[in-house]
C-alpha cells in the first residue's frame, strides 16, 4: 500500500467502556444516544457514517487548499471507471483480507492482534528465504509449497512471541504485537541492505527477485493471480471454523467471558494460544501472497500498511469473516484511489489514510459498536 507506517492492529476483548462502568447513573448518555438512533436501520447508519467521513475528509482537503469536490470526483473516476483498476483493487484486497482474518480469529477469543504488519513482513521474509534455498533442489511445486509453509510458520511464530508474553507474563498483546511490527520491519531492512541485498539493484535496495517460475500465475486475460483464491478460501474456512465447529464455539465462549469458560473446564490458555497462532499464520500467508503475487521481492516498503488497513477492515466487518471480504475490497479501493490521487491532484497518497481512519472513527463511535463483543 502506500506509505505511512506499519503496525497492525487488532481488536481486543472487552473493550470497554472503561469509562462507563460506574453504576448506571442517570447521566449515561451513550444509552440515550443509542436509543435515539435505534430506529434507524443499520444501512442508514452506515451510510451516515460514510457520509460523515467524506464530509470531514473534504474539509481537510479544502483546508489544504485543494477543491474537495474535484478531488472526490477524481477519486471516483480514476478508481472506478478506469479499465484495469478493478483488477488492481482485487489484487490489493487479497492480502488485506488474509491479514484481516488474522485479526478476526484472535478477536473471537477477545485478543487484539495489532501485529499484522510485522507478521506479513516475517511471512514475506520466510517465503523469500524458502524460495532462495529451495530453488536449486526442488521442483516449482515444491518451492511454492515450501514458501507457503515457511510464511505461515513464520507468521505464527511471530504472533507466538506475543502469545507467550500474554499467557506467561500477562503483558497485553496489543502492545507487544505493535512493538514486534518494528522488530520485523528493521529485521527486513537489515536483510535487504545487508546479506540479502541484490547486487544488481539500482537505486533502492531490494532482495533478489523471485525467479519467474515461482511467481504466482495469473488467470488468463487478467492480471489477477491465483493467490486471490487463497484469500477467499481462507475466509470461507475461517467462517466455517468459527461458526460451525465446537472449536469456534469454545473460542467465542472464551472471548465472551474467560472466567466462565475456565470454570466450565475449557482449556482457555490453549484456545487463546491457538487463536493467536492461527491469526499469525494467516497474516504470514498474506506476506506470501504479497511476495509471490505482487511485489516479487522484498523492498523497504514491502507490505507497508497492509496490516493496519486489515485491522481497520476487520473492525469494519465486526470481525465476521465473510463481510471482511467486502470491507477489504472497499479499503483496497480507497488505497488504490490514493495512488491516482497523487498523480491527479498532487496530494500525498497517504492522504486517503484520513478517509479510512475517519470511516472507522464514525463506525466505532456511531454504529452500535457498543453491542459488539469482538
Amino acid at each position: 500500500m502506500s506509505q505511512g507506517t506499519r503496525a497492525g492492529t487488532q481488536p481486543v476483548t472487552q473493550d470497554a467502556p472503561a469509562g462507563v462502568d460506574p453504576p448506571p447513573g442517570p447521566t449515561s448518555w451513550p444509552s440515550r444516544a443509542r436509543s435515539a438512533t435505534a430506529w434507524l436501520p443499520g444501512a442508514a447508519r452506515w451510510a451516515g457514517a460514510l457520509l460523515a467521513g467524506l464530509v470531514v475528509f473534504s474539509a481537510f482537503v479544502a483546508a489544504n487548499g485543494a477543491d474537495p469536490l474535484a478531488v472526490l470526483a477524481d477519486i471516483w473516476t480514476s478508481t472506478l471507471t478506469q479499465p484495469g483498476q478493478f483488477q488492481q483493487i482485487v489484487l490489493r484486497a487479497a492480502p488485506i483480507a488474509l491479514a484481516g482474518l488474522a485479526v478476526v480469529v484472535p478477536a473471537r477469543a477477545g485478543l487484539v492482534n495489532v501485529g499484522g504488519e510485522g507478521q506479513i513482513v516475517v511471512g514475506g521474509i520466510a517465503a523469500a528465504g524458502a524460495a532462495m534455498w529451495l530453488t536449486p533442489f526442488s521442483s516449482v511445486g515444491g518451492v511454492l509449497a515450501g514458501m507457503v509453509v515457511a510464511a505461515a510458520l513464520a507468521g505464527a511464530a511471530w504472533a507466538g512471541i506475543a502469545a507467550a508474553l500474554r499467557l506467561v507474563v500477562q503483558v497485553n498483546e496489543a502492545v507487544t504485537t505493535l512493538l514486534l511490527n518494528y522488530v520485523a520491519l528493521y529485521s527486513m531492512l537489515f536483510l535487504i541492505l545487508g546479506p540479502w541485498k541484490d547486487p544488481a539493484a539500482l537505486g533502492q535496495s531490494t532482495s533478489v527477485e523471485l525467479v519467474d517460475s515461482v511467481k504466482l500465475p495469473v488467470f488468463s486475460g487478467t492480471s489477477i493471480h491465483v493467490g486471490v483464491v487463497l484469500a477467499v478460501v481462507a475466509a470461507a474456512a475461517v467462517w466455517f471454523a468459527l461458526t460451525r465447529t465446537s472449536w469456534g464455539f469454545r473460542l467465542t465462549v472464551v472471548g465472551g467471558n474467560a472466567e466462565a469458560a475456565r470454570r466450565a473446564g475449557l482449556p482457555v490458555v490453549r484456545l487463546l494460544l491457538t487463536a493467536l497462532l492461527i491469526g499469525g499464520a494467516l497474516a504470514g500467508l498474506a506476506g506470501f501472497l504479497q511476495l509471490a503475487g505482487m511485489e516479487y521481492k522484498l523492498r523497504p516498503t514491502f507490505g507497508l500498511t497492509i496490516g493496519y488497513v486489515a485491522f481497520l477492515a476487520s473492525w469494519l466487518a465486526r470481525h465476521k469473516p465473510l463481510p471482511l471480504l467486502l470491507t477489504s475490497f472497499v479499503l483496497a479501493a480507497i488505497a488504490v484511489s490514493g495512488n491516482s490521487l497523487q498523480i491527479g491532484s498532487g496530494l500525498p497518497a497517504a492522504s486517503v489514510n484520513i478517509l479510512m481512519g475517519l470511516l472507522l472513527v464514525t463506525v466505532l463511535g456511531w454504529t452500535s459498536a457498543r453491542k459488539e463483543r469482538a
Partner: protein, 303 residues
C-alpha cells in the same frame, strides 16, 4: 564516547518521557491511548508548522500540544462517551494521524525553521562528565527534568491527582461523591494527548529540526510499553525514558564514531529491549496497574 551516549540518552529520551508522562496521566484515569503515537505525529507537525509560521519555537510547542490534545479529544469521545474499544480507537487515530500529517505536512518537508538551539547552562555545563550529559541541551530537555516530578506531585499530592487516580481505580467512588467520571477521564486523556504533542514537538523542533512523514517511528508505542513497566509511576518513567534514549542514540553515536555496524540492526535495539524488559517485569508490574486498566488490558485474565 560514553559521555556521547549518555548525552544522547538524555536528548533522545526526552520525547519518550513526555509521551510516557502523558500516557501515565491518561492510564491512571483508566484510559489506554495507543493513539499516543498519532498524537506525537500531529504534535511534531503542529509544532513544526507553528514554529515555521511564527518563528518562535516556544509558540510551536504550544501548537504541538494543542494538536496532540485535539487528537486525544477524539479518542476521549469515542472511548469515554461512546464506549468504543480502546485499542481499536487508539490505532484508528494513529492511522488518521498518519493521513492528516501526510496531507498537511507535504509543504513542510524541506522547509527551514528557527528551531530550539542548544542552551548550555552557565557554570553547570562546565562540570566534567555531568555537564555535557545533563546541562548542554535544548530548553525542552531542561523542562522535562521538572515535568516528571511535577506530574508525580500532581498525581499523588493534589486533589486533581486524587480524582484522576480514583477514576482509574474506583470510578464508583467518584460518582458517589458527586464528581463526573466522564469529565475526569476526558481531562486526563486530553492532558495526556497534550503531553504527547509536546513529545512530538521536541522531536521535530529540537531533536531532528525537520519534519518528514511518519517521523515518530514507533516512539509513541515504546512510550505506551514504558508506562507498563514503569508501573504507572512518573519518576520511573523518567529513568526508563533515558534508558530507551540510550538505546535510540546508540546508532547515531556509533556511526559518528565510525564503527561499522548495520544501522538497522541498531534500530532494533530499543524495540527488542522494550520487549525483553516487558518479559522480565511484566507480571510483577501488573499488580501496580490501576484496576480499571486491568479490565481493559486483559479481559481474559482468568487464563
Amino acid at each position: 564516547m560514553i559521555i556521547d551516549i549518555l548525552a544522547g540518552a538524555v536528548r533522545g529520551g526526552t520525547s519518550i518521557m513526555y509521551a510516557g508522562l502523558g500516557e501515565t496521566v491518561s492510564e491512571r484515569a483508566g484510559v489506554v491511548n495507543l493513539g499516543t503515537e498519532g498524537a506525537m505525529l500531529v504534535g511534531a507537525l503542529g509544532g513544526y508548522a507553528v514554529t515555521a509560521g511564527t518563528g518562535d519555537p516556544w509558540i510551536g510547542v504550544l501548537g504541538g500540544a494543542l494538536a496532540g490534545a485535539l487528537l486525544s479529544l477524539v479518542h476521549a469521545v469515542l472511548v469515554v462517551s461512546r464506549g468504543a474499544n480502546q485499542f481499536a480507537s487508539g490505532l484508528t487515530l494513529y492511522f488518521l494521524a498518519l493521513g492528516v500529517t501526510a496531507l498537511f505536512g507535504a509543504g513542510f518537508v524541506s522547509r527551514q525553521i528557527n528551531a530550539f538551539a542548544t542552551v548550555p547552562v552557565p557554570v553547570l555545563s562546565e562540570i566534567p562528565g555531568v555537564g555535557p550529559v545533563l546541562f548542554d541541551h535544548d530548553p525542552l530537555v531542561y523542562v522535562a527534568y521538572v515535568a516528571a516530578p511535577l506530574v508525580w506531585w500532581v498525581l499523588y499530592r493534589t486533589r486533581v491527582g486524587l480524582l484522576v487516580r480514583t477514576a482509574g481505580e474506583r470510578p464508583q467512588a467518584l460518582q458517589v461523591h458527586g464528581y463526573s467520571v466522564t469529565a475526569v477521564r476526558y481531562g486526563a486523556t486530553v492532558v495526556g494527548g497534550a503531553l504527547a504533542g509536546v513529545a512530538g514537538s521536541h522531536l521535530s523542533i529540537a531533536y531532528t529540526n525537520s519534519w518528514f512523514e511518519n517521523m515518530v517511528a514507533g516512539r509513541g508505542f515504546i512510550a505506551v510499553a514504558l508506562v507498563i513497566f514503569a508501573m504507572w509511576n512518573p519518576l520511573r518513567i523518567m529513568a526508563g525514558a533515558y534508558l530507551f534514549g540510550a538505546a535510540l542514540s546508540l546508532a547515531s553515536v556509533l556511526q559518528t564514531a565510525g564503527v561499522a555496524v548495520n544501522q538497522f540492526a541498531l534500530n532494533l535495539v530499543p524495540f527488542v529491549l522494550t520487549l525483553a524488559v516487558l518479559a522480565v517485569l511484566g507480571r510483577r508490574t501488573l499488580q501496580a496497574a490501576p484496576d480499571e486498566l486491568l479490565r481493559v488490558f486483559d479481559s481474559s485474565r482468568a487464563a
